[in-house]
Symmetry: C2
Subunit: 219 residues, 2 copies
Amino acid sequence: MIKHEYHHGNLKEEFITIAMDFIAKEDVEKLTLKVLSDATGTSRSAIYKHFKNKDALIETIIEKGFEKFDVATTPYLHDKNKALIDRFYLTGKLYVEFAKNNPNLYRLLFGKKYAHIREELLSIKDEDCSGFAALQTTVEDGQKQGILKKEDSYRQAIVIWATMHGLSSLIIDGFMDVEESYEEIYNTLFETLLAGMVANKVKIISTIPLLNKLLQPKN
Amino acid sequence: MIKHEYHHGNLKEEFITIAMDFIAKEDVEKLTLKVLSDATGTSRSAIYKHFKNKDALIETIIEKGFEKFDVATTPYLHDKNKALIDRFYLTGKLYVEFAKNNPNLYRLLFGKKYAHIREELLSIKDEDCSGFAALQTTVEDGQKQGILKKEDSYRQAIVIWATMHGLSSLIIDGFMDVEESYEEIYNTLFETLLAGMVANKVKIISTIPLLNKLLQPKN
DNA sequence: AGTTTAATGTGAACAATGTTAACATATAGA
DNA sequence: TCTATATGTTAACATTGTTCACATTAAACT
């Protein structure tokens, strides 16, 4: 005989999964506790046995979200088989694509609303946001290799991040035509950015044809 | 004898003023109808005689906000007395400073949450967001003057906007040290951006020393 | 096994919020 | 003056996050 189990078993995991799936489709603002209780067939207050409050659930979502973000965006960043310039290009592209494919999650991770949770989370882990340190290190590698101009690496990394974050935000917050190809814009953005950052005398070859002209020696 | 006036007089204007002042200090999320009724000494539902609902008030705030934004950011954009490159530099700086000085308003104007209101508003006025068309026109002027590379002006304008929006967002959403001087970062950003956009053969002189080296002929 | 203890879920209740409807009062114009 | 309209009030409602007392199950310990 089928009996509704009073004890659910893995309710906490289910809350997290449902919340992640919800954010894949709708904004986190619309994620209400009723959505979660209905989806799990539990009472309105069941969630409080697993999370201190709604913010604690959001915190978990942000944690999972950053993991997902890291997995999605970093595969090329440390790929020693690729030219450094290609690693920048591909990683930036993955960054924008992540935002494009996960707009609600991206906003949750990099928006202001839950900044306090993000900061607490990242300070505990002694990490920075979105692997910024890794970006800065890569910039420094580029300087050592003579590819990038030797300026303050922190500021250069910020410039790169701001650029990618800006494009991502414009795309997902409704400032560009949906049907518009973001790739052309990304290429223009990357070309412009890199053209402003590459050192003048350099003769690295990229496997990405678009980038080769940026790498031809000038002067 | 002092008598509390049943009819307030200019309650609508007062709601708007209070809301604008509130957003100058706190996020729009915290702007509740109770805040407005308390501040005006009226009942909770008085506002409904002047606005269809809360969103209608927000719409007015966004409208006023864009006016404020335009006033704050465009004084140099069409200043024919200045070199075009200086107009870019100064306008960009005002853009970032507006965001920095009005973080909650900036987020309201350029965030996702009220994108539907923004779009409705700007489509009625047949305007674009944040004078984007003006930016694009200025880019085209720069191309005609031989200062900027001749590429698709729409994409170039997007690149400029994305860059400024990205830096602004990183600053106001908590990704940069508060005490940090944003000016150095802005200069690095602008130098990088423009270095990637200026044509090679050019001999314009900027009144801004920082920019002159960007404008020296190359090749 | 049986008993206790902790974990897990329920239902009722609360305050805050946006909203509506019925009612009250002031203002303006005939 | 009288009446229609504009403007404001009070009461009520649904939704939301939250808490608390209570119920039930699972786990731990004799």
